[in-house]
Symmetry: C2
Subunit: 272 residues, 2 copies
């Protein structure tokens, strides 16, 4: 365990940045990106969409796909185990096997909704398996680095969570490259494992449809369709305990800032 | 289901961009960001670190924290259910309760490693709960939008996966803001639920330590410590089937591009 004296650290910071502006060594506590760089990240995050119906057949060049996959591989992973594989699927025959699984699961799913919701559900397009030029199955090998993994000793699903971090990195990199991604989760996982010949120890975490798109929608489709509203930040940010709201000036100022940020997003400030 | 004729779509694209350059309407298939914007995203992804020992006590201003939390809230979520809560923890009393859980789990974990690995494990700093000015527990409420959720009908853990996407968005936004994040997973989840008074239906997905840092390391600590190597891209990218390597020119060109991208990262091209 390191011990720290916060007052000393603050004093060092002030010396570097305030008291002696002529010395050009950097302020070691400021590693933030420029405003333009931060805006680029936020535009990626806020204009990312789950794409189902807008794929074009334009192939993804190798250099673009390389950057997208490399971004995924540099996700955080528990115990640095990098448990993922990325199975690139381009053959119609393989896609068709997965699409058949989707159709079956989709019919089963429709029966789980009642009345109006069932009608709406049936009109929603929920995958682009055949139209997208590339599908990628991202898997998790729980045995990649042996049975005992740093950080997975108590929460066994940490390797699955690491794999999801890779999915999100891939999704964001693709958006910045102008490439759409749709996550198809209406599939029987056991049958998907068989269809892609995964070993027993390997879990298929995400099945993604990937390709250039005719457009990225301004808002998530389920939001535009009125299926569910976007929750206000105040509903999801708590203080010290679950569901506990703002009760000091820090919390009140934060909620005000979040309201403004959320309004900017919903008003299209980050539209690309 | 939409039907598409790929040849027609290619023809449309070509008309817009190639055959009539005087017409200024945009090529609707190109939604990519500028090179500088893409580089900003890649620098964020490749210089993100799991921070344990470099936290300073400098408080995070409300506007910075607002952007980080808003980025998390705009993660993808299955059926647009937005199942997450972000519990901000700043009181030493709350942190100490969680730190006690860490200490207990950490001792248990050490006993699971053998010989040299156990010795090395004990020297690793794996959390910054008390030193970081802010801890955030990100939770998943499985009942947020009722029992039946679009896209969660067949893979029940999709809501947990959505929550992890929010974690990764938060992590990346924090990095761009110069704020470090460390994910502490060496905790008994049941006891963590009690410590933070989570309702039964709510799962604690990630416990994060957050704050400005004295430095971001060039490489992941477990990589630098020689615990495990970074896997080459060729080990994790497969074609059409699990563990199947390159066997056509597309695959071979892709592997070559990925090797180059990975070399650039390891050589520090994306260092910030």
């Amino acid at each position: 365990m390191e011990t720290r004296d916060p007052k000393v650290l603050n004093a060092i910071t002030q010396t570097n940045t305030v008291n002696d502006p002529n010395i050009i060594y950097s302020n070691h506590t400021d590693h933030s990106f420029s405003k333009a760089e931060r805006e680029a990240l936020y535009q990626t995050i806020f204009s990312r969409r789950d794409v189902r119906g807008q794929f074009t057949s334009k192939p993804i060049p190798e250099d673009v796909l390389s950057r997208i996959l490399t971004a995924a591989h540099y996700a955080p992973s528990v115990g640095f185990m990098q448990p993922w594989n990325f199975i690139l699927i381009q053959k119609d025959e393989t896609k068709q096997r997965v699409h058949n699984l989707f159709k079956k699961a989709h019919d089963e799913a429709a029966d789980m909704f009642e009345g109006e919701k069932r009608k709406t559900y049936k009109t929603l397009k929920l995958e682009g398996i055949m139209e997208s030029p590339l599908n990628i199955c991202i898997t998790c090998d729980k045995d990649r680095t042996g049975p005992v993994v740093i950080g997975r000793t108590h929460i066994k699903s940490m390797d699955l969570y690491s794999t999801v971090c890779a999915v999100q990195n891939l999704w964001l990199a693709a958006r910045a490259e102008g490439v759409g991604v749709g996550w198809v989760s209406i599939l029987d996982q056991k049958k998907l494992k068989q269809a892609l010949k995964l070993p027993k120890r390997v879990t298929p975490v995400a099945y993604l449809c990937i390709g250039y798109v005719s457009e990225f929608f301004d808002k998530p489709e389920l939001q535009s369709a009125g299926w569910l509203p976007r929750l206000p930040m105040a509903h999801v940010v708590n203080f010290e305990e679950y569901d506990k709201g703002a009760d000091d000036s820090f919390a009140i100022n934060l909620l005000e800032a979040m309201n403004q940020d959320q309004k900017a997003i919903e008003d299209g400030y980050y539209r690309k």
